[in-house]
Amino acid sequence: MGVLSAVLQSRAAAALASPHSVDRFLEQVNPLWAAHEVRGRVVDVRRETTGVHPVSTLTVQPTSTWRGHRAGQHVQVGVDLPGARRATRCFSVSSAASGPGERFTLTVRAHDDGDERTSLSRHLATAATPGTLLHLSQAGGEFTMHATPATPSPHPVLLISGGSGITPVMSMLRTLLRDGYDGRAGRPVTFLHYARSAAEQIYAEELAAIARFDNHVDVRVVHTGAGGQRFGPAALARLVPGFRDTDTWACGPTGLVQAVQAAYDGSERLRVEHFKAPASPLGAEEAEGETSFARSGLGAANTGETLLAQAEALGLRPQTGCRMGICFSCTTRKTSGTVRDVVTGEESARPDEDVRICVSAPVGSCTVDL
């Protein structure tokens, strides 16, 4: 940052580069130069677990435009997959809170929504190497700790996570320890995590080390696949008496998050985040599942007709033109699900993809931003 960035971000520079953004020129020189957009380069890859759903942690050097992140926030990550198709998905940052332009890490588990040529998570977890370019957003999300956790306070902290949901709470725990939390603040921290098995346990060594140190952090890891008990209010009450009055952050698959919410019974001390289930696999039955229109909050059983027809049947009036797939007036963001092009028969399951709703029919459940 400095004079140069200020100049590049100025209105004068924008007026000169118009109608293009200054970044459209800078990227021609070096992809890591940017005035507005955020990009990053993978500088280190660390394999956390192997198996069918391997997990890797990527260290990312962002452009100077990165404003930093608070523990618990997430970032949009776009990658050019083989075939020159860019896919974008959201990941929580796993490293401790970062400052502007500072490196951070992403921990990515390979999902089943395709092979490493079509699935972004699989590509990042198994094929990313130092040098891979990532197209990022600024960090976002309200699932964060507002005060510095190390601030002396009588309020204990409880972190609950399941599976890959460990990443944002790990960022919180790491921030806490990095910023000088040593237990003397009189603020016990309980870290409760559910994983399927020891083999699928991310950050196993680091968690073991944190548990060993005398730092008032109580680490509890439950392996549900090896006989460990699933989440329940009674067990939690034994671990953290009065948990409903304890500041709690919970993140994991929808099932776990719902169970935690039920246990807290509406307590304002609980903050949750769940992740989107990966897109339904290809080859589902035609007119199956539910078609949902996210912005209007409408939805109905999938009739197998085009998204446009289904939207109009619900009284929505999306923008259209030719209604035959040539003018792109009806292009809308599909956030999840599989659609089939009714002209070519081609199917696509990529999340966060722009589709022409006049020629796209959902195959199974599908959500579009209408």
Binding site: S18, P19, Q28, G83, M324, C327, T331, T344, G345
Partner: protein
């Protein structure tokens, strides 16, 4: 009804369906093959355009290099508008998922706001291609480009209007959506245009600011030279784009259609209409690049959303299909097509001589 001198062959509904299936098959095959080569190509053109733009702007600091600066900037603007802008806004590269090449987001170096252009061009012109009364690209509401537009003494000025449209082409394109001719005719009210005005003015201000104020001012004492250079580059782009685009739909032999004929048309008939309503220009690969591959207007109209670099490779097949169905494939060298367009502009300035055969097949649909 085909109103040109050639009468186009009629196809039966069965033949039209077969034609549609063959065209769909080509489209599908190319779509399935899209990948790195197409991405590398468009990235390469963008890189070239950005370099030329930077070079052009920088060369204005060296007054003796003025012609070179104008040339670089002109080519940069032509590439930006045609091979990049026009094609990207058609969604030809939307499959890449790259925001910088997305049809929804691209803004071109032209006073017409891309959002308005996408409506009038992608939707109106490409859906209702050469349908008289629907496709406002027939004469752009200013010219008489078809015998079936009734003659009026106003059209005596046809060649003059065409010349002015050529010189001010980007302004003509920007004003296109305002449908001034429909306001004059009372079919549209000024209030309908309110929303469009703001968008056009914003874009005009931005374009004028950089080309006629900021960049000239940055060259200090060379202000007038830079200003003249930028204006020249815009003019060169206007003249070039006008000529290429007019060669795409107005040479002799290109057909127009009536609204009735296109009601509830089949996909096959839509393809048929695109084929008969467009014309190509022969040339080398550099020429095709400079036209944004609109020299393959026929292929572009058949497959507006396929990356334009694919048009040359499928043109042989399209030609062969035309031969098999007995359909004309209109193409010719630039000179010939230009002359043909110019002749039409002048001829239609005058009232029709052959009044004895008024639109002979007026009501006969090509596909019932």
């Amino acid at each position: 009804m085909t109103s040109t001198t050639t009468s186009s062959p009629r196809l039966t509904p069965v033949q039209l369906d077969a034609l549609g299936a063959e065209m769909d098959a080509i489209r599908q095959r190319v779509l399935a093959d899209l990948g790195e080569a197409d991405a590398d190509y468009i990235h390469g053109v963008v890189r070239l355009q950005r370099r030329l733009e930077v070079a052009g702007r920088a060369l204005f600091y060296l007054p003796p290099a003025w012609p070179l600066a104008v040339a670089a900037l002109s080519v940069s603007k032509i590439l930006d508008n045609m091979e990049i802008g026009h094609n990207v806004m058609h969604g030809q590269y939307d499959w890449m998922g790259e925001p910088g090449l997305s049809s929804r987001m691209y803004e071109w170096d032209n006073v017409c706001p891309s959002e308005q252009w996408r409506y009038s061009h992608n939707y109106i012109h490409h859906t209702f291609t050469n349908v008289l009364g629907k496709d406002r690209d027939i004469g752009y509401g200013i010219l008489r480009m078809d015998e079936d537009q009734p003659w009026h003494p106003y059209y005596l000025g046809n060649p003059v209007y065409a010349f002015l449209l050529m010189v001010f082409f980007e302004w003509g394109v920007a004003m296109h959506d305002l449908e001034v001719e429909n306001i004059v005719a009372g079919r549209r009210s000024l209030a309908d245009n309110k929303a469009l005005h703001a968008g056009i003015m914003r874009k005009v201000r931005r374009q004028a600011l950089k080309d006629y104020v900021l960049f000239p001012a940055l060259t200090g004492p060379f202000f007038p030279l830079t200003l003249a250079g930028n204006a020249t580059a815009n003019l060169v782009r206007n003249v070039w784009a006008f000529n290429i685009i007019f060669c795409g739909h107005f040479p002799a032999g290109v057909a127009t259609f009536s609204e009735g004929e296109c009601e509830d048309e089949s996909r096959g008939h839509w393809y048929y209409r695109q084929l008969l309503g467009s014309a190509n220009i022969d040339g080398g690969s550099l020429f095709h690049l400079m036209t944004g591959n609109l020299s393959f207007q026929v292929e572009h109209h058949l497959f507006p959303d396929l990356p334009a670099r694919r048009y040359p490779e499928i043109s042989g097949e399209v030609r062969e299909i035309c031969e098999r169905y007995g359909l004309p494939y209109n193409t010719g060298p630039l000179g010939k097509q230009l002359l043909s367009v110019a002749r039409k502009i002048c001829r239609l300035a005058l009232p029709d001589r052959r009044r004895e055969q008024p639109s002979q097949a007026a009501e006969q649909p090509a596909a019932a």
